[in-house]
Symmetry: C3
Subunit: 206 residues, 3 copies
Amino acid sequence: MRLRLTPRDTTIIDLLVQAGNALVEGADLLHAVMTAGDADRADLLVKMRDAEHACDDIVHATMRKLNSTFVTPFDREDIYSLASALDDCMDNMEAAADMVVLANPARLPDGVQTQLRVLQEQAKVTAEALPRLHTMKGLEEYWVEINRLENDGDEVWRDMLAELYSGAYEPLELLKVREVIDALEDAADAFESVSHHVETIAVKES
Amino acid sequence: MRLRLTPRDTTIIDLLVQAGNALVEGADLLHAVMTAGDADRADLLVKMRDAEHACDDIVHATMRKLNSTFVTPFDREDIYSLASALDDCMDNMEAAADMVVLANPARLPDGVQTQLRVLQEQAKVTAEALPRLHTMKGLEEYWVEINRLENDGDEVWRDMLAELYSGAYEPLELLKVREVIDALEDAADAFESVSHHVETIAVKES
Amino acid sequence: MRLRLTPRDTTIIDLLVQAGNALVEGADLLHAVMTAGDADRADLLVKMRDAEHACDDIVHATMRKLNSTFVTPFDREDIYSLASALDDCMDNMEAAADMVVLANPARLPDGVQTQLRVLQEQAKVTAEALPRLHTMKGLEEYWVEINRLENDGDEVWRDMLAELYSGAYEPLELLKVREVIDALEDAADAFESVSHHVETIAVKES
């Protein structure tokens, strides 16, 4: 436990909390894009792009605040890495939404529903955990839960992979489906990476 | 050379050494999985999973020790990164073992034998190098050797890739083989990443 | 703004500048390899390999200088990371040059020209920005420009991906082209990563 000799500006934590809330919206939009018909996808992708820009603005506000604040709540570089990791979550979710349109597989395997639910849950527990950076309490249960969710996502990704290589798919359709399930898996990994950065901060504060 | 004003707890180094030894067992099991027939693979995969859990336990013990130790032998974050990197080696080797079962290629190119030998050698020199963190002597030859091995692995990976694209493979079989050789290449990269973290520690200590 | 109590050795910045200049040569050679006929490619690949070794030597000289310098211009680890990131740019460009020979697609889509131009521009603005580490002035415009270029590259990569999945490509040719455009996209990402490391240094200095 470090001694604090100066009052700390916690506005930065509030900005990280805002970024977390943006991820909840992003995960909901991603679910909507993936389950929508072709007719609604274009509109939803525009909303996804807007959500990504909003998250970007929050992250840049965090960076600017970081540059102008003398005493930060945690190590400057750790906040920087955490803000970047939150940004990566949104970028990965937007990339997954794009990919379903770019690759345009004929149909998605059922496991994709599990991947989408995992992302929505990960976004929710991340958004709930970030305000706890004010007190540093209750964070361990957050990263345990993120890890559990990531394992769920990983398991379903592996099952789908085995299905893709079972001989039931033509190579081109296999590649298209693979693009989408990999993009979703990358997004789940990005949420796990956020939890590692929170853990790094917690290790230093303990 | 930094001055040491406090005795350092070196239990953490002993834990890192244990993790290194676990990687030797992991690389041997990976070789066994890859060269086994279908009949023996299930049993070997269970052993691989056990080895991965054992390594996980060691890494978590390292993290807990890190959290409860006031004066660590090196920068706290560097030990954290090194322990995570050792964990990644085991995770990547387990992923490669899984992949040969998931993708199930009809046959593996001969170069896979070289990839497996590289991983066994990398695990061995890593396990031999980690105890040297006590004295910080003889580490340079370790990372030079890891790099040499990684180059060997990379060269054979490239040769197999050229073979895959030569026209001798159907697209589906190409994809299956590619999954396996890429997973092995990722594991070799993970060992190289461990050596970079050791190098980072050595740079700071020098 | 940190106070400087000791004169700083800025030879390290000069070495980073040399690495930046090597990247300009690398990007030009990459363009030459990609647009050459089969007859000239072997010679150009040898030149690419030489340029990569030259860059390697500069990066290793930076590391050695780092180890033997007591007062570095910035945090030791940040310089280490920046030098590694510059090395990654060259490695990725060499990997892209290799890949066009290994995968050997029948023809490359027009968007590859844009990717090559983006890399040449990124190398140029990086080489122009690195000397500004002496004064820390004018760096923001550099990372804004790198980001803009990376977005251009990303957009053309996405367009080519949609084209690959449109049904106009056979699976094998699709895979071959994909290898090349992904390798070029990775190289553009590596330049963006360099700009992030420069930004990290600038954040700490501000």
